[in-house]
Amino acid sequence: MSKKLETKAGLDFVTDWAYAPSPEDTKHIKLEKQYDLFIDGKFVKPNSKKYFDTVNPATEQKIAEVAEADEKDVDKAVKAARKAFGKWSKTSAKERGKYIYRIARLMQERAREFSIIETMDGGKPIRESRDIDVPLAANHFFYNAGWADKLEYAFPNRNPQPLGVAGQIIPWNFPLLMAAWKIAPALATGNTVVIKPAETTPLTALKLAEVIRDSGLPDGVVNIITGAGKTGAAIVNHPDVNKIAFTGSTDVGKLIQKAIAGTDKKLTLELGGKAANIIFEDAPLDQAVEGIINGIFFNQGHVCCAGSRLFVQEGVADIVIRKLKDRMESLIVGDPLDKNTDIGAINSKEQLGKIQEYIKIGKNEGAEFHQSSCAIPGKGYFCRPTLFLNASQSHRIVQEEIFGPVLTVQTFRTIEEVIEKANNIPYGLSAGIWTDKGSKIFNLSGKMRAGVVWANTYNKFDPTSPFGGYKESGFGREGGLHGLLPYVKL
C-alpha cells in the first residue's frame, strides 16, 4: 500500500560536520605482561609451563600472555575449591553476602579500568562495556548478595543446600558479565567455584581475580584458570566437580552433555540462538527499526540472543527496509575505544572468517546482499553491518547461528505464518515483538518457543530476570530467583 507512495528521494548522511575522535586513554590501565592461574587465593605458575597470547582484535597486537592450565592445574584448582567448600558452605549466610557485596563494590570502583580492558581484549565498543557490561556485572553481584541470607524465602519450606564445587565455562562475547552471572549465584548459595574464561578474552576475568583477592574472600572459594577447549574438558571430566555451568556454542554444549552422562553432575547449558524479531504493520516503525539495529548489531552481533532473523509484515516491508538502510548509514564502525563508535571489532580472526564464510553462503543462496557504506579501519578484524533481504526459511543463513553483524530479512502476511516461521528453527533462546497492540503481544509471547520474549524493546537485561533457552539453546535459567535453583539441593 505504501509502496507506490514512496518517491526515489534519498538522504545523505555524509556531512562536512564530523564528530571529534574521542578514544579512551589506556595509559592508566595496569596490565601485567604475563598472567598466571588464580588458584587457592594466589596467582600460581601453570604446571604446563605454557602460555598463550591474548590479542587486541582492533589492532591485532598482543596485549599479554596467559597461562594454559592442563589437567594437573585443573585438579589443583578443584582440590582448592573442595578444601574451601567445607568452611565456605558453613559460613553464615550473612557473612557470605558481605563478601559478595564487597566484590560488587570493588568492581564499581574499578569500573573504568574493567571497561577499557574489556574493550581492548574483546573488541566491543567502549560505549557498551562502560554502560552495559561492567555495571550489569556489578549488579549481578549486588543482586545475588542480597539472596545469600534469604534462601529459605527463595525456596519456602525447603532446606536449600549448596552442591559443592561448581565448574564453570564461559564464552568470549561478554567475558566479565558472564563471569558475574556464573560466580555470583554460586557464591550466594554457598558453593565454591572453578571458572574458565574463553581463551580469546581472559583479561577481565583475571582482573576480577585481583578484585576477589582484594575482597578478602577466603582462599580457594573462587579459582580462575585460563586455557582453551582442553582445559574446559578437564573441568567437565574432573570427578570431584558437582555441577557444570556452561555458556557457549551448541556443539560444545552437546559434547559436555555426553561427557557427563552417567555421572551425578548437575548441568545447565546456555547455548546458541537465532532469534526472530517480528515487526507488525501497526508497530511504531522508527523505534522498531532502532530496536532491530540494537538487536543485531549490539556487540557486533556476538550475542546468543541477537535478533538475527527479522520478520516484517508485508505492508510495511519496503518502508522498514528503507529505514533500516538509512539507520545503518549513521552507524560508526571503528576503534572500539572511541566513545563515538557504535560497532567495534569482531572478536577474533577466526570469528571474522566464520562470518565472511556465511556472507559468501548467503550470496550463493541468492539472498539480496546489502552492507552499509561506512569506512572500516585497515587493520584489525572488522565487518560492516550487513543485511540479507528476501531470505528464505531454508537458507543456511536463516537456519544457522552466524554470531556476527548479519541480519536476514523475511516478510510475512499472517500472524499464523509468522508464529510458524519464528518457531521453525532448532534454537529457542529469545524473540522480539513490535506492535502497538497489547493483545497481540500477549497472544504471541505465549506462542513463541523462546526463553525470553521482548515486546517493543530488545536486548534488555536485568539481574532480577531469568534468562535461558528452549531446544538447542540449552536448559536451566540464569538470573533472578530461577538462577539460584541450579546451585542448590532442595
Partner: protein, 303 residues
C-alpha cells in the same frame, strides 16, 4: 517533483513509542564534539538562530537593537556568521525590516493570534496578511490546539492551508505548542497535518508554555519530516523553539538532525533554533575556544 500527493487519513498516523524515542535521544547526547568539530558546530548553530523577542512590553527601540545584534553578533571575533532571522510580533515587522536592510538576516513574524491562537479565521488571515505586507519573509503561525485535541483535524488542516495561501511568497512555520498536545502520537499527527497542508517548517512551541522544545518531541517531528520527504520528495524544515539556551544542548540537536535527516538539513534553510538567550552562550563558547578562557556574561551584549 511532480509526484501527486495523496492525503493520508490523519486518524491513522504512525504510532510512536515514547520509551524508544527517549532511548534514541540519549544516544545523540553521547557523540563527541570538541575542538574543530565544536567550532564548526557552534558556527552552524549561530547561523540557525531565529533571534526572538515576543513580549507585550517590546518597543521599537528594543527591536532595533536586537536587529543590530542579529547582524553583528560579536564583532570582537571576526568571521562570525549572522543569525538566520529575527522573530517579532506583526506590529514590529516594519521596524525590523528597516533595521535589517542590507543584511541577509530575514524577518519572521508570529501571527494567527499568537500565542494562544484563540481567534477567528478571518482575524488570523488578516493578521498574517498584515505581517507579510509589512515585509515579513517568514510567518510563524500557531495551530488551533483546541480543535486538534477535539479530533477536528480537517479544521486544523484547512486553517493551515488558508494561512499558507495568505503568506504568498513568505515561508510558513507551523507551531504546534507541543507542551499542550500531551502525547508524542499527537505530535506526530500534528506534524503530518501541517506538512500535507503546506507548511514549509514545523515548529515545536511558542516559548510561552512549558515544556517547550525537547529532544524527544523534536525527534518525532524530524522522523515525520523524513517520512514525508520520502513520500513526496518535498523537504520541510524544523524549528525547535523555547528552552534551548545552552550551546551544548544546541549541539545535541544538530547531532540529532545529522543522524536523522542527514547533511541536507544542516543549514538554516531547513533547520532553525527559536531562542533568545542561546546566541550569547554560543558566543561565549566560541570565545573560549579562541582565547582559551571563559569570559563573564558581561563581555557579551544582551540585545
Amino acid at each position: 517533483m511532480s509526484t501527486r500527493i495523496i492525503l493520508p487519513d490523519f486518524r491513522n498516523t504512525p504510532a510512536v513509542d515514547q520509551v524508544g524515542i527517549e532511548e534514541r535521544v540519549a544516544r545523540f547526547t553521547t557523540r563527541s564534539i570538541k575542538k574543530s568539530s565544536k567550532q564548526h558546530g557552534l558556527k552552524l548553530v549561530l547561523n540557525m538562530i531565529d533571534l526572538t523577542t515576543l513580549e507585550g512590553k517590546d518597543t521599537e527601540g528594543k527591536v532595533k537593537q536586537m536587529c543590530y545584534k542579529a547582524a553583528h553578533l560579536h564583532d570582537v571575533i571576526p568571521g562570525l556568521p549572522t543569525v538566520a532571522a529575527v522573530c517579532v510580533y506583526p506590529t514590529m515587522v516594519k521596524t525590523a525590516k528597516d533595521a535589517l536592510k542590507g543584511t541577509s538576516v530575514k524577518v519572521a513574524s508570529v501571527s494567527t493570534a499568537f500565542p494562544s491562537g484563540q481567534s477567528t479565521r478571518e482575524i488570523k488571515i488578516s493578521d498574517t496578511k498584515f505581517a507579510v505586507e509589512n515585509g515579513a519573509d517568514e510567518v510563524d503561525m500557531v495551530i488551533s490546539r483546541g480543535e486538534f485535541l477535539k479530533g477536528n483535524y480537517n479544521y486544523v488542516f484547512d486553517e493551515i492551508a488558508e494561512i499558507k495561501e495568505a503568506c504568498g511568497a513568505a515561508r510558513l512555520k507551523v507551531i504546534f505548542e507541543t507542551g499542550e498536545l500531551s502525547t508524542l502520537d499527537n505530535v506526530r499527527r500534528a506534524s503530518e497535518i501541517a506538512m500535507y497542508a503546506g507548511a514549509d517548517f514545523i515548529k515545536t512551541s511558542t516559548g510561552k508554555i512549558s515544556p517547550a522544545a525537547t529532544m524527544p518531541v523534536t525527534l518525532v517531528m524530524l522522523e515525520a519530516i523524513r517520512d514525508y520527504y520520502y513520500k513526496t520528495g518535498r523537504m520541510v524544515g524544523m524549528k525547535p523553539a523555547g528552552g534551548i539556551s545552552t550551546a551544548k544542548a544546541a549541539l545535541h540537536y544538530l547531532v540529532m538532525v545529522k543522524e536523522t535527516l542527514g547533511g541536507g538539513w544542516l543549514t538554516n534553510q531547513w533547520f532553525r533554533f527559536g531562542a533568545s538567550s542561546l546566541a550569547n552562550d554560543v558566543l561565549m563558547q566560541i570565545a573560549k575556544e579562541t582565547t582559551g578562557i571563559y569570559q563573564s556574561a558581561d563581555y557579551f551584549s544582551k540585545d
